[in-house]
Subunit: 552 residues, 2 copies
């Protein structure tokens, strides 16, 4: 099995390439001023970097070995470096620089809830810190120990706890160990004819426990629900014993403890099991491509779909910039493709009156019985038409489905060439969407100017709800000569986040708070809200052993 | 405006009667052994009872008057007695007996969030207790001050805060003051073409803030969602300032503070405003009646509907006992009714093979465009047929819609004749439904035997979710000669609640914990779950001023 990169996204040996995308290099040069050539800033070899030694006390090591077995207690340098952080741009840049500030002293891999409880007991007895590690895909700084942490730091890697334990077909409930990765979970469910339907961009490199700990959302959440909707039961090892939230469809038992664990980023305990709502695999599943004259025409259509009696699985609309990017990442087209594309453009311009430079690419997904899918397609088609949209068939959708988990690799491709790329996402009521979009655009352009770069900002609507939507922004730039890439990044990222909370949007729809977004928490959920979180964390973990410093 | 009864459900002058229901008295005599005659245990007049004097300190009174005006600070005996408790059977029996243990010293009626904040500040300064009062319809003991409470007790009645403040039609969001009663809220929304669609049994006598504070659920929640789904934004006056949860469709900002307020029963602060998801009034709304051979045939059909691509607004199935009760509450039938009824019974028995004594009455609701409603009716019809069910048209559904809010009055009708009637409801996964139903039936029969009564237990499925359902039990009995009605009640109620938590069902699906169900909380949400709630409450309200003693 390939190892996880310690300096980038995903697995060693898997990379994004522009070689088969002839329009991409010219596009990047045009929008970022970056000539795409060979790698100019390759990650170093780990052996060249100063990995701090483990300072694990012998007594704690013995206790951990007793809990999990010597084979599952690792002080290996690569292991500790891989577990030191997530995959935020800040994480990757500092990893590549060898800035290992407070990496874990040990990586422990329990295989059962009992072993997790034993590890936590040992950690508390030794006054150590425990940081739960799922797939390590956090881009919010949820996985790093505080720089000044003087206590021993344990990274608790749950990857061995990856089994579907029980499928209650009569209720559509699957009891699953929390360390399972997305693909392995779906495989186990598919063998029984079921699916969870949770497909975040990080799907291949993230775990069930991680999704729950961050209140994750997936590409098909419009149909299946966010992870908060899907998670019905929970088992969580806490300092005062194992928390058990029974899998009931709804309950009136005071403030929901299930909802307290959702989004808790390892601060309340270690999630060991969850009972998830699963559905039978649909008979049919298709994603259709659409074009709209402008982004806001597409947004208006998604709004109308969300309010209507239609039921769809994916709603996605890219703005003009992201639409251009999508077209630039097409594989080498055949002559037929080229002719079709030219004919389409002519049709759009002449017959539908599109300004092609403003048009928006959209995907809408459908699932279910053939009858249901057809009925939904027809109903959605009527709405799309009212907003000047045009269906361009299943080809682009199939392509999108194939490539959808590859996007995070592009960041490494840029970093390898000295450029920065990152994302910020948010949610807001429909009526606030246009003001938020405009404010973010303005703020990003001002930030690009401030750090003297030719930046590129693009956006898509990624989820629709009855009352609002998620906007997902991606930005990239080449730092100005002599400028520090992280300092420039901070200016841009902060400007975007600030524009969110200043305009009635949340600091994150599904990427969590961690340390990266903690600065905006008070403005988002108000000072009494922060105080409530503190009360919850301090009361549950009075010794501060569980992933300290995150969220608040 | 009619006054709220201090000794029973609803308004003075409104009562349940059996006079127009010729089959009811014989039914009650048969199932409870109670001859229904004139009232034998009328509630006393308040003037005859020993209402404890208000012990409100003068300084606090002055501060409250300054906050809300003298006209809205009441120490009137009736006012204080009405605000002393909710409407649980225990509450009503003790009110009728004049057992006023720790009634509020004062009832305060603020009209704005600022006034609420001022009252809370004054209360904390005076070391007083504040109990938020919505409609006063709690049947879980959420409104009574602890018997030994030595501090001044303030009942904060929010009924003057009843306005729809803002309708964001573009997002389907309505910002509303928390003290508004159900009918007044729906009136204000209907004038703008919208509906919240939240219809608990208590609808006419409960408020938005109360629904949120108890995690309420309504008759149409299958379509509109429970109150936890509908509540998007919140404003809550807490000891450390006003908590603001922005109305966003979803967020990843740590454990959800919105979800912490939901179900908090006044322990975290006073809910002053909420931003609710509302929908356009549907073009069509209809409730159809169905019959199934048995309760579990009906349950299986609801399960299949919940898993299917159908979208319905109400799913309800009564067991054989509740079906008999429903038929017994019919108004005086015409000759045509009688003939039709006889023909139907013959048809059911001879052609469909029903055992009429076991059959189950069911209601399924449909809403939306005419096209949508027709499509759903057809799809549901196919499922119903597969489970041996039969549609009996819209007549029974219309009747059910008219009478649906009258049921709670029956309890007073029984109390007036010395009999006890009450409810317990729960939720569980579909696969646990039959075991829970059977366990509750067995437990209730054993309890009836223990207290030497001829009890009656009936049940309906009231809500369907993809993974499970809510079962709603109603029981009644006439206490044995010489037995204490409350002591007998405790035996029966406890047996039912214990059967819930012993069988994987929750202590309450939508009636909250209060004091009535607190005993089962630890078994339901586990000891670490209870500890988390305590941490949250103690940290947010360190002085214990907010509705002490509830939930934990």
């Amino acid at each position: 099995m390939a190892a996880m990169k310690w300096w980038g996204w995903g697995l060693e040996g898997v990379e994004f390439t522009h070689a088969d995308k002839p329009e991409l290099a010219p596009f990047i040069e045009r929008v970022l001023g970056l000539k795409v050539g060979p790698v100019t800033a390759a990650p170093p070899r780990l052996a060249e970097l100063p990995v701090p030694p483990s300072t694990l006390p012998e007594r704690l090591r013995t206790a951990l070995v007793q809990a999990c077995g010597a084979a599952h207690v690792s002080v290996d340098a690569l292991d500790r470096v891989v577990h030191a952080r997530g995959k935020s741009l800040r994480d990757l840049i500092r990893q590549r620089r060898g800035e290992f500030v407070r990496i874990p002293d040990v990586v422990v891999r329990p295989r059962s809830e009992d072993e997790v409880a034993e590890v936590l007991r040992a950690a508390i007895a030794a006054d150590a810190v425990v940081i739960a590690f799922g797939g390590g895909s956090s881009i919010s700084g949820s996985l790093e120990a505080p720089a000044g942490e003087s206590r021993p730091v344990i990274s608790l890697d749950l990857a061995r706890m990856d089994q579907l334990l029980e499928l209650d077909a009569g209720s559509g409930l699957a009891r699953v160990q929390a360390g399972v990765f997305g693909p392995h979970l779906e495989e186990q469910l598919a063998r029984r004819g079921y699916t969870l339907g949770h497909l975040p961009d990080s799907f291949t490199h993230s775990t069930l426990g991680g999704w729950i700990a961050t209140r994750s959302s997936g590409m098909q959440s419009d149909r299946y629900g966010d992870i908060a909707d899907l998670t019905k039961g929970l088992r969580v090892v806490t300092p005062s014993g194992t928390l058990v939230a029974q899998p009931v469809p709804a309950a009136s038992t005071g403030p929901s403890i299930r909802q307290m664990v959702l989004g808790s980023e390892g601060r309340l305990g270690i999630i060991t099991q969850a009972t998830m709502q699963v559905r039978r695999l649909p008979a049919q599943r298709t994603t259709l491509g659409y074009l709209f004259p402008t982004f806001f025409d597409g947004v208006a259509a998604m709004r109308e779909i969300a309010e209507s009696e239609c039921s769809v699985s994916v709603t996605r609309v890219s703005d003009a910039n992201e639409t251009s990017f999508s077209f630039a990442t097409r594989s080498r087209p055949t002559l037929v493709d080229k002719l079709q594309s030219r004919a389409l453009r002519t049709f759009l311009r002449r017959r539908l009156g599109y300004d092609v430079s403003r048009m928006a690419l959209s995907f809408i997904g459908y699932e279910g019985s053939a009858r249901h899918v057809n009925a939904q397609r027809r109903a959605v088609g009527r709405i799309v038409k009212r907003h000047g949209g045009l269906c361009i068939g299943s080809g682009p959708g199939a392509l999108y489905d194939q490539k959808k988990f590859d996007t995070p690799y592009i960041r490494d491709f840029l970093l390898d060439r000295g450029a920065a790329g990152d994302v910020s996402e948010t949610a807001m009521p429909w009526s606030r969407l246009e003001p938020v979009y405009d404010a973010v655009s303005t703020a990003a352009q001002a930030a690009f100017a401030e750090v003297r770069v030719q930046g590129y900002l693009m956006c898509h609507l990624s989820h629709s709800y009855q009352v609002g939507a998620c906007l997902y922004f991606t930005f990239a730039f080449v730092p100005a000569p002599g400028a520090d890439i992280l300092a420039s990044y901070d200016v841009v990222k902060s400007a975007i986040q600030q524009a969110f909370v200043d305009n009635g949007a949340t600091l994150s729809h599904h990427h969590a708070v961690g340390t990266e977004h903690a600065r905006w928490l008070q403005q988002d959920i108000s000072a009494p809200g922060v105080a409530m979180l503190k009360a919850l964390f301090d009361g549950t973990d009075p010794g501060g052993h569980l992933n300290p410093g995150k969220i608040v």
